[in-house]
Every structure is written in structure tokens, then in C-alpha cells.
Symmetry: D2
Subunit: 137 residues, 4 copies
């Protein structure tokens, strides 16, 4: 039932046309995404906007779920908690590493560590819960 | 030390130039914002994108903080939890009602109920924590 | 399908025998509970222990759910977020006011404001999500 | 400024006299704790009570903070988010592994994975934020 990186990338282009996230890798345990940072993602002072980080994490969990259970359009976010830990770089891509912590019949929980590319310090950490149609999980 | 709606609106135009949030009202206890919904805020199927809702809530708490402690550029979000409760309308503005729950010396906590304009059901609920420079809170 | 205060109190005595929570009122929209504070609930310095507050909030949402959908033993907490806002009194009961924000087919979300009895300031705020068996919600 | 396992254990006996948590190991990056499970920690049906898990996680982050910044009595929890992922065993100790994600001047953020001893599946995951007096962090 799992989906490949190519299948997911094609699906995301339709389902999330606005996202600039790129799927770097995905398997049944999680996914790694990258996201370019430019003027649209920055706030004055050179900080990556918080909602941009939330958005990347949200997509990363979504991609990881597709990688696990296949293309399931009805998957929806039910809750998301983000902790902002450090100021991201204005000059580096954001890398999102998602690990699925629970894959239940109707609920899937993933965590995401967000980095500025080239550093090992987590700039933000996210835990998100997604609801999936009961038959498919 | 509090700031008026006009002062906040002028500050937001500089600090958050990307936001489409409009400050409808603000006082020392909270703020009400609105946000137009158009093609950029929607996902296929006509749902308002989750990150758009997070972004509106984030701005709403920020505005409420400015309304309480005045224009403090160094205020930053430290954590945010969102629960998605109902599908928002694709045809209505999002209204965000923020109430400050705690205004401490270094931490401020606010909650936000997000509605589709014209309905009373909450589409998403947010609790956010913000760090402010110690001397100003 | 809803349950009365008396039915819930009887059920809680079996299901949560350790809890000292008292159901003060409950209806289809929420519940109010109280909890005595004594030496077992305090930490040195006279603060009510954080886990005691979490526990009261957890029970409050559980009771509110029973008040809405009836006695459903398989209801389980899936997530809970607590923000500690003020130091509770060591000499007053804790009052928990729970409002159900969403009652879905499989997920119920409630929020709880916790007070020291006799004050109007919230000492802690909780949002909790509960999973219920699909047929009963 | 860090504290040893023995110093922390002695401090905890005074500061958290009710806790049954045992500090297994602690260093500047995190801590591992264990907690016996008996009749007082179980709910009917053999599930470890949710508030017991929250309490263990709360203590685990507290211990990790002491291990990093030394014995600082004024450290307080400001927020905690728990996701319940699997049913814990009724017959095994709970093991809590805490990693500090951010150690800031006034805020420290830790995450905790809770296991039933002898299994590798996480039964609950916690992210907690603690406030520390500015001079000591």
C-alpha cells in the first residue's frame, strides 16, 4: 500500500500546488523534505517565518503518511504542536526529517525535526496527528 | 504601553508584509482579526489550508500582545498548538478571536478561536506562547 | 445517549477509583469538576503539583464526554496539551471547567480552564483529544 | 554547573517526595528514568493511567534539566504536550528517555519517549517546556 517518492511528488503537485517542498526521500518509517528559503519565507531581520516552518512540517508528515499507507487523499491534519527552538538561517534551505511514531487504524502521529541545511541543531520541532479513513490505515 | 489598532496596523505592514490579516479590533485583553480567503488559501476540495489557519492565529496572538504591551519588535513565538475542529468554508473570511490568558514577565500565552465568518462553530483552536524581552512585559 | 451526573459519578467510582475529582455539574456542552487540595497534591513551597492539574483536566474532559455521548468505557485520551499560567493556591480546591469544542465521529476535543476556587484567574489551560469507538460518537 | 545522578536523587527526595521515579542515568544531554507499575498506577483493564505517564515525563525533563544546569529549585513547567501512542504493559516498568532539545537563557525544551520496559515501541511521547531563572540557565 505504500507509495514511492515519484508517486508522492506527482500527487503533491496536484493536492498541494502551492507548496515549494521537495521530497528528498521517503520510506515506510518517515520522510525527508527540503524547502528553499527566499524573500517570501523571511521576516524582517532575516528569520524564516514561523508559519513557513509549520507548513513544511505539516507537509513532511503528510508525505511520510503517503509513504506508509499509500495515496490517501482524505488524510487530514487534526492537531499540530510546534516548538520553535533556534533562529533558522536566512541563507540555507530548511530540511525536515519526519518519523512516524504511531500508525493506527484511524490516527497517525508523526514528529518532525526542522534544520537549516548544513547544521545539526534543530530549529523547530513538531508533533502532528492526522486522521485517515478507517479502512485504509 | 499598549498600542492602538492604527499603530499596530502600521507596524504589521512593516514587520509582516506578507500577511493579509486585517486587525478588526484590539484592546488589552485580546484582538479580533479577519483574513480574506481566495485561491491562494484553498486546497483542492475547497478547504482552507491548515498552515493558513496557523498563520492567522499566530498573527492574531502577536497583535493582541502588541495591544497589551505596546510595539515590541523582539516578541517571538516559542510554541503553538493547533487543533483542527471543522472544515472551514471556502467562501467566507476567516475570523480570529484571540484572548490573552497570561501576560507574564517573559512569557505571554494566548488562545485563538478561528471561525468562518457568519458561523459560530470554531473551525480551529490555537494556544500559542510568546517570549518577550524581560523589561517590557 | 447522554449520561446524568449521578450515572457518571457511579461509573467513575469504578473506572477511575483513584480520582478525588467530584462532578459538580455536567451537560451536553461540558462539565465542572472540583478536586480537594491537601498534602498529597502539594509540592514543597505550596504549589499544586503539575501532574495533579493534568489529571484533573483529563478527568474533566472524560466526564464531559460521558455527559454528551453516554457511558462509553472505551474512550481513551489520545493527546493533551497543558499550559501552566499561574501558581495555584495551596489552600483552595481546584475547579475545572470543561467545554467540548468538537464532537466528531471518532475524535472529541475539549478544553479545560483550571482555577483555584474563589478566584477568576486561570491557573492552567488544557486542550485534550479523545478517541471514541466509531459507532457511539 | 551540572549535577550528578546522586545529587539529583537526593534533591528529588526533598522536592518531589511523592514521586516513585528512579533516576537511571543523567548527563548534560538528557536523562533516563524508570518507574514501577503497580495497582496504584493502573486503571481497570490494565492500562497505565495517563496522568501517571505525564507525571513520569514531567519528572524526566526536570531531572535532565538539573543534569544540565545544576540544582535550580525555581525551575517550573510552563507547558507540556503528550501524545498517547500505544497501550502500555501492566506488568512492566515504564522507562522514560528524555533528550533536551533547547537550553536557552530562560526556557528549556525537552522531549521524552516513554516505553514499557523490554519493548522498543514508544507508548507515549512528550514535549515539555520549562522556565528557569534567567541568571542560571
Amino acid at each position: 500500500m505504500s507509495a514511492t517518492k515519484e508517486e508522492i511528488t506527482a500527487f503533491m503537485a496536484v493536492e498541494f500546488p502551492q507548496t515549494k517542498c521537495v521530497v528528498e526521500s521517503v520510506d515506510e518509517t518517515g520522510a525527508i523534505l527540503s524547502h528553499d528559503i527566499g524573500i517570501n519565507e523571511l521576516r524582517p531581520g532575516g528569520t524564516v517565518s514561523g508559519p513557513v516552518l509549520m507548513s513544511i512540517a505539516d507537509v513532511a508528515i503528510y508525505v511520510a503518511i503517503l509513504g506508509r499507507i499509500g495515496i490517501v487523499p482524505l488524510t487530514v491534519t487534526t492537531s499540530l504542536t510546534i516548538n520553535f527552538l533556534r533562529k533558522p538561517s536566512a541563507d540555507a534551505r530548511i530540511i525536515a526529517e519526519c518519523t512516524l511514531m504511531k500508525v493506527g487504524r484511524t490516527l497517525i502521529v508523526g514528529e518532525v525535526s526542522l534544520y537549516s541545511e548544513g547544521t545539526s541543531d534543530v530549529v523547530a520541532h513538531v508533533v502532528g496527528t492526522y486522521s485517515v479513513p478507517p479502512k485504509l490505515a
